[in-house]
Symmetry: C2
Subunit: 408 residues, 2 copies
Amino acid sequence: MVQTVKQFQVDKVDGGTILTPGGYQAGGFHSGLRYKKRDFGLLMSDVPASVAAVYTQSHFQAPPLKVTQESIEESGKIQSVVINSAVANACTGKQGLENAYQMRKMIADRFQIQESYVAVASTGVIGEQLPMDKITYGCEHVEITNEDAPYFQEAILTTDTCQKSTCYQLQIDGQTVTIGGAAKGSGMIHPNMATMLGFITTDAAIESDVLQKALSQSIERSFNQITVDGETSTNDMVLAMANGKAGHDTLTEDHSDWEAFRHGLQLVCEDLAKQIARDGEGATKLIEVNVSGAQTNDDARVIAKKVVGSSLVKTAVYGHDANWGRIVGAIGHSEAHVNPEACDIYIEDQLVFSDGTPCAFSEEQATEDMSNDKVVIEIRLHEGDGEGTAWGCDLTYDYVKINASYRT
Amino acid sequence: MVQTVKQFQVDKVDGGTILTPGGYQAGGFHSGLRYKKRDFGLLMSDVPASVAAVYTQSHFQAPPLKVTQESIEESGKIQSVVINSAVANACTGKQGLENAYQMRKMIADRFQIQESYVAVASTGVIGEQLPMDKITYGCEHVEITNEDAPYFQEAILTTDTCQKSTCYQLQIDGQTVTIGGAAKGSGMIHPNMATMLGFITTDAAIESDVLQKALSQSIERSFNQITVDGETSTNDMVLAMANGKAGHDTLTEDHSDWEAFRHGLQLVCEDLAKQIARDGEGATKLIEVNVSGAQTNDDARVIAKKVVGSSLVKTAVYGHDANWGRIVGAIGHSEAHVNPEACDIYIEDQLVFSDGTPCAFSEEQATEDMSNDKVVIEIRLHEGDGEGTAWGCDLTYDYVKINASYRT
């Protein structure tokens, strides 16, 4: 990865969340969908915000996503996101669609905003109808403040073992602009939006179509480059809101600070994506695969993702085994252009494969390197300038345990 | 799958092997590559045989495969296949290529046949040079008879837990023609030839180019439709020999018995492929996914393979969990055309999903069905006439155990 933080003066805000940007409130509480944990959340902007979103590419897209898309298409803005966990409202037919509309309406009525200013999201088991008594209770009683980001973050989790949030700041026209993010996702994480939700807030002033472009670009190099198990779900979405509270002139692609904003957004997406990969079901560590020297960036990304998604690479990393052969296997299997003789492979700092054959390296050092909670694999193809990175996690006994017993 | 056995009078030969067709000998013994197990094998036809082969599509194709391709290109026939297990002779550079040539030469010299009549195969760890003293010992001492198919079958195994063989017979011009097969493969099994070797012998009289066509077609619907873990290896090959010993007129595509032969070959490939899938690393059962009603056969095959390769479906089957949601997830994620509302899903005899929503079904019955050593998932898309089948296995603790500790 090219480290762009300094270049554009984008700074990480320690402890920052989706509520660090000006003009947002959020909350989460227990509405009764789960046994004990928080299960219902709400995110609200003081004013209608520009919006961008990317959705699952599953053929079986869930009703809440359809309603959200409709909201965004209708008004080009949103002000609020309502979400429940436990029940995904997917594969629920017409009743499911009506329930998602009902959720939207209840929030709109309570906060006296247009229905089309409300986005809806659900996550959890699929094929079950939402228990509308509990959803109604949630819509009527969820409280929002400008401090309760952790409650929101908790309410959106499913098999996740931890909350995921991040925040970056940058300058636009000399004004401080903040971008915060929250996400969930643990299993079924693969390209193009797997069981994963991401919410990004910013106080930047930017039109929805420009925000959409920046978000789509960022996602291509972040959320779409993580994989836990190669699966995609019915409910996934990343949604960004920009409420303009920072007060600078509306940002466009011609603006001198455009690249700073774009990179800030990229870093927020990347940070959340990595947190999701690290928290993959049963995972003990984050795997990062960097590919350089590919013919194109696309080729580099394809290879990086193939390697990080390989079951054999994942089990080898779990076993602290510097198994260059499985990396070779995964690269060899990709559709991207590769010259086997010109390919160098590093595990952390050690060159393990070069000139088409394995290199002498310290197994001891490798085992030690791979005992860390992050393992970096670097692949240099010497074919061109294409670069790409992907993130994943190891494959463990616990992944099998979690998934041999968890009903969708 | 369309059951074509009766239609074309193709009969399974119980206990039949690669030595059931007339004019073949084989053997396998311990040459010292492994600690104790047989590790060196030889297959020989009495006369030069027509030949067809399909190779791994990995960018890192191993030297023995290059030598085999060269043999076949040079003479269009082969008479012998020499193989060792334990060391794959992959990622071994120029030295590896010289060693593979040397193996070919030693067999040619000993049996006084052209070098280009010898095919070479290796399987095992990659990145290590062949110990040529032991290979030489193997080439000089391996014995062949017309009864020792099990020794050959054992010598080619790696992490396999059992030998794989099959045999079918049919009539051509009133003459009995036999097709036998042996295979190995357990992990790294995925499309387009994964760590998998298949050897097919027949006494049919057929030219190499016609045999190649029939083999390629058969593989598309058999070996290329199995997956254990989505991985592909450097050494995979399926090779078919036809020595003409059955004595009928040379078979062409215009021959009235052509379809019988083609289907016999298909059944041999399918049988071997299923045996490999069932013996996937750590597997407890075979999963078969049948897709019908797709827009095209290609679409059907893509979906079947996506479902059977899904980690979440595989873990659910391991847990005897009739988890239709994960099947929906995998279908939804495929690039093939799918109308979610028109898709019916069966687990064994029970309809579990229809009209875009789950159906009421007996969980008890489903759990019982899924306790068998074969589980059939059927998907009807109601979009067209496309059909396809794929085979795989469940994902278990043992898969992780085997692969967290086994060095390539």
